[in-house]
Amino acid sequence: MTNSWTDIKNTDLIVVMGGNAAEAHPCGFKWVTEAKAQRGAKLIVVDPRFTRTASVSDFYAPIRQGTDIAFLLGVIRYCIENDKVQHDYVRLFTNAPYIVKEGFGYQDGLFTGYDEAKRDYDRSTWEYELGADGYVQVDETLQHPRCVYQLLKQHIAAYTPEMVERICGTPKDKYLTICKMIAECSARDKTMTSMYALGWTQHSKGSQNIRAMAMLQLLLGNIGVRGGGMNALRGHSNIQGLTDIGLMSNLLPGYLTLGTDKEVDFATYMSTRGFKPLRPNQMSYWQNYKKFMVSFLKSMWGKAATPENDFAYQWLPKLDVPGYDMLRYFDMMYQGKVNGYFCQGFNPLLSLSNRGKVTQALSKLKFLVSMDPLQTETARFWKDEGVHNDVKPESIQTEVFELPTTCFAEDEGSLVNSGRWLQWHWPGQEPPGEAKADTWIMAQLFQRLRALYEKEGGAFPDPIVNLHWPYRLADDPQPDEMAKEMNGYVVSTVTDPVDPSKMLLEKGKQIDTFGQLRDDGSTACGCWIYSGSWTERGNMMARRDTSDPANTGAYSNWAFAWPANRRILYNRASADIDGKPWDPSRKLIEWNGTAWTGFDVPDIAPNAKPQDVGPFIMNPEGTARLFARGMMKDGPFPAHYEPFESPVTNVMAPKIRGNPAARIFPADLAALGTSDKFPYAATSYRLTEHFHFWTKHSHTNAVLQPEFFVEISEQLAAEKNIQKGGWVKVSSNRGSVYAKAVVTKRIKPLKCDGKTVHVVGIPLHWGFTGAARKGFGPNSLTPVVGDANIETPEFKAFLVNVEPSNGPAVS
């Protein structure tokens, strides 16, 4: 989230697309209710199903899953055509005036530079034209034919209301009503918020779904303001934190990135991470990259990280592919190239696409370690559960360890909520039986591994035997110790270079802010964006001050928000070129002639003049990008592509299947189905009574929603002679499941390009362990293809067939 849950109360219009907050995030959704009740805000829901969120909306329109980009580019077209754009904001705070190099173009669904064999682009033409001064050329009048604004107008011209209706199946009158409601938010005193979740991410073009809405929000002037923003409703309590800390193949903590084979030494690695500003006076905050990186390496290897060995840069592994994400790695496992696997609080047998392939992949491991507070299906993938897990244990040679861990009620530490608040929590009881904290398990494993390397030697022991391990109890590090490491501390005293008698940073002290970090090894910091979370003043994440001056919804002294306790990102953009709020009733920060004052920590330096420094400080431009340059794999603008499995062909580019820049492995390509055999458009989702595969272990929730079902329309039920509550068999080209049919008015057939499209809804909460009845989930059916940029699998749009059935017992 750029904003926070409590900030939603400040909005005038809430657009829920790609999510179902009333169902999946009920207590956060109360702030929507608050905005509706107190401000008269309106709620729009666009979804294939009439969801619980839709049931309390002011306006609902259906859409076929996987066509959100066409819808949103159509809304952008409407706003530009009807002059509903916040022009000053767009000119000042976006790259609309920037001129793009000659040679860039888009035709037949492809941008310039496409290589079909590689399914990838040469992105060299997706760049700005630079002047002799090294800065981007601009045309403030937005008239230059190659300026971003003109290119955008050209790009979206095809997304007429008629085209949107053809692709999305959204009736034109409903679509235009929504366009009109959204366009009103281009006024300076109106703002809109976008609340989305996995309904946007779980597509082969998920990142571009989100970009399309972000572009619309920028054109309306709604980023950085109270009640505005792009608000990702994250699905789990700490995937924000785990991503912040870089627990992904290609990440280091704080969104630094791992080196590649081509970055043969630290100097080469740093050479592409200089982030020289592209416009005069811009902060381009990543210019401090080296300070964050060296401080991270010091937190990893302490004294062993020295200027002489490039702070142990070479001890980090290097990537030869963009990333060993889960999809790639399970494909390797499926091919027999993997021996060992650890699942820490993760149940891939139910949460990764194409369960049949997951089972086969796990069966090829030598060993699998599950650390979990619950008995997961993954830890039992080898167990014969009849139709619910049809395997032969005797033929599976994998050694499996199930290690019992604590749950939230028994552990201490911080989690990061969707609004980037780091909130500390405390244990209320001891773990059951012999269960242990994950920290204890990781420390025990590490201590044993290090001892083996010290005793026996072996393959490159240096990074293991030198890992910085400063904990009071080496076998049982405590949460406060890791929290302090992540905040950062002073390794050696830093004095003022002008006056060496003056001490700037004292050895051993916690740092206050990432502004204090150094690139010479005198500071260590595990995760620079968390700096300020545990300072010499103590644990800022444990703060419980509920004061909220002027009722802005910021709650600045409750817990800690990264970065720098900033509650609304890009808040500089809430004020005009002179630093006056666009909407005085929604003041966030304001320039008083010498400094920024107000209710939030400004993005830019407190004394940076409003005319000079742009709000988007992480971008070398200082502005936000309507045109993403070469930073997105699949295009500098979003474009409509069908899901890989779609009931219709791409009407804008009939030759293209799926997202042309999305990676797909041969086995997974061969496993795709087509609409002649699998005619119905399926999607997956959560129910409010359940959380993933956890709450089926909770008696109350198992009672509330005991049994797996699928949802279909009355029309489809009649067509296929399916009874309400009767058994059906749902199949894709990868597998099949049995379910009770919920025949509902909440799903209605769509008309897309003259064809009737039936939608099938498949909730995801059942498996074969826990207190609920045994059942299946959508991952028995879904394809393995990820988003082109971040490899999130396409769970939200795939093809199935549905047939009446006698149920699993007799089949």
Partner: protein, 199 residues
């Protein structure tokens, strides 16, 4: 100045009130003492409150856990009740159908309680000790790493990676667990490192 009654004071007062003064005020004479003895005091009055946040979605509602036991050294606390934290700015005391049933999650019959092991081709888990499990896993890791560690690529460039073992991290562990996990996993050269944000 207004004296604020803390939640605890209120609970205690309410609990004691039921058992004593309120009944006495009714004036039942000798019977009142017997009755007072029989009234069960409000159970949360003698519990310890602990602040936590809901482990499910990212709204991160504040919760209060009520545990038996006073947190003294040899007392073993057990959570007996969980409710929304009224002071929390986001949820203001409310919880959804998932958060309201957290107690059942904490005390679920299908929680893992002991380390278990399943050997090749076996049909069931059996209990093993922590030492056995951890020693065996460390051995498996080291043998696989020693055998398959890639120090340099074909061009002779230092790459220091280990591709034959991977690690999936969680979605609800703390930042502090995440950082310790990060350090350990990265120090081994593992590249197949991912978390639930992926899916």
């Amino acid at each position: 100045m207004l004296h604020e009654l803390s939640r605890r004071q209120f609970l205690k007062a309410a609990g004691a009130g039921l058992g004593g003064s309120a009944v006495a005020a009714l004036g039942f004479g000798g019977a009142e003492e017997a009755l007072a003895q029989a009234v069960r005091p409000f159970k949360l009055a003698r519990t310890t409150e602990t602040r936590n946040t809901c482990p499910y979605c990212s709204v991160a509602c504040g919760v209060i856990m009520y545990s038996l036991g006073d947190k003294s050294k040899n007392a073993h606390p057990a959570v007996v009740h969980i409710e929304g934290d009224p002071d929390h700015p986001t949820n203001r005391g409310t919880l959804c159908p998932k958060g309201s049933a957290l107690l059942d999650f904490v005390h679920s019959e299908t929680r893992t309680k002991v380390p278990q092991y399943r050997g090749p081709g076996e049909k069931a888990f059996r209990q093993i000790s922590w030492d056995e499990a951890l020693d065996r896993i460390a051995r498996l890791m080291k043998d696989d790493r020693d055998k398959n560690f890639v120090a340099t690529n074909q061009d002779g460039t230092t790459v220091n990676r280990w591709l034959t073992t991977g690690f999936l991290a969680a979605s609800a562990t703390t930042n502090e667990t995440a950082f310790l996990t990060y350090k350990v996993v990265r120090s081994t050269g593992i590249l197949a490192f991912d978390n639930q944000a992926r899916v």
